[in-house]
């Protein structure tokens, strides 16, 4: 099907209370109206949401992540990898070398694990943002 329109879009998944030594999973459901072309990955981490953080002391979470594309059933990484190695921020986002398409109605599954052994590495809230474009095709 031919591409008829593209529109900027961001899918985000939020995790709260990511305690050291624990794992969590979450899903992003790609909406039915269009495919999603993923181009950039960013993460925002707040160990304490009630504290003010500066750019110079931005937190790099001690968390690994595995991303699974339910459409193909494939993992994106051989093994879970540290979040800061594949997620950036608004200033310096991680840019995918090749944009990835997630089909409409598919699901992106995120499995994260806080591998720290100390409560100082606990995280109040961590948001993973998938930045790209909705691709509307003829018939969608």
């Amino acid at each position: 099907m031919a591409i008829v329109a593209k529109d900027f879009y961001v899918y985000t998944e939020t995790f709260t209370s990511v305690i050291n030594g624990t794992s969590q999973s979450g899903n992003i459901d790609i909406q039915a109206d269009s495919d999603f072309q993923l181009q950039k990955l960013t993460v925002t981490t707040y160990p304490d949401l009630n504290s003010q953080y500066d750019v110079s002391d931005e937190v790099l979470p001690s968390v690994t992540i595995q991303i699974t594309d339910s459409g193909s059933g494939r993992n994106l990484f051989e093994n879970p990898i540290p979040v800061p190695s594949v997620f950036g921020n608004g200033r310096l986002p991680f840019i995918l070398p090749t944009a990835k398409i997630f089909p409409a109605r598919s699901t992106i599954t995120l499995n994260i694990s806080n591998f720290a052994t100390d409560s100082e590495a606990d995280i109040d809230r961590i948001d993973f943002s998938f930045v790209g474009y909705k691709i509307f095709r003829s018939g969608q």
Binding site: V10, T44, L49, Y53, I95, S129
Partner: protein
């Protein structure tokens, strides 16, 4: 303004372009845990091609400390952007500002610019999630190019 040649079905058309920035200022000392809405009204004279997203948060109204690089704050604030003309939202849930906005030195660059029609109106909904993190001033800046078609000046 810079001339630009745009291919059209009837031949190449020369248009004029101008770098331009729209901004959204949040109310000073806006409170936590309270939704705030602001509108971004795009001007009627031209379409706008959005290319870069940046923000700046100031902790204090005065004093050199607020200007220091090491106090370049990361907002605890989320934003949801909606185009009121189409009703289309640009995100599935509110996102933290620092996830898709950069700085003047390191702006968030849209890999494929967004063309926004003249007279469009965006609704931006903000929520500061921190308990003791009320910024003095927070500004979002949308930088891109105005496209002046033939006949406009």
């Amino acid at each position: 303004m810079e001339p630009l040649i745009v291919p059209t079905p009837t031949g190449d058309q020369i248009v004029q372009t101008q770098t331009y920035s729209y901004e959204v200022d949040l109310p000073l000392n806006f409170p936590t845990n309270q939704e705030i809405t602001e509108f971004l009204q795009f001007e009627a004279d031209t379409d706008f091609v959005l290319q870069k997203l940046t923000y700046k948060q100031y902790p204090e109204p005065e004093g050199s400390e607020s200007l220091a690089r090491e106090l370049d704050q990361i907002p605890n604030t989320t934003v949801m952007i909606e185009d009121t003309s189409s009703g289309r939202r640009y995100m599935n849930q509110p996102v933290f500002i620092s996830a898709i906005f950069g700085s003047g030195e390191l702006p968030f660059i849209l890999r494929e610019p967004i063309t926004i029609a003249a007279r469009s109106r965006w609704l931006l909904t903000f929520l500061n999630l921190g308990e003791f993190t009320e910024p003095y001033k927070l500004t979002l800046v949308f930088t891109g190019t105005k496209i002046y078609l033939e006949g406009f000046s």
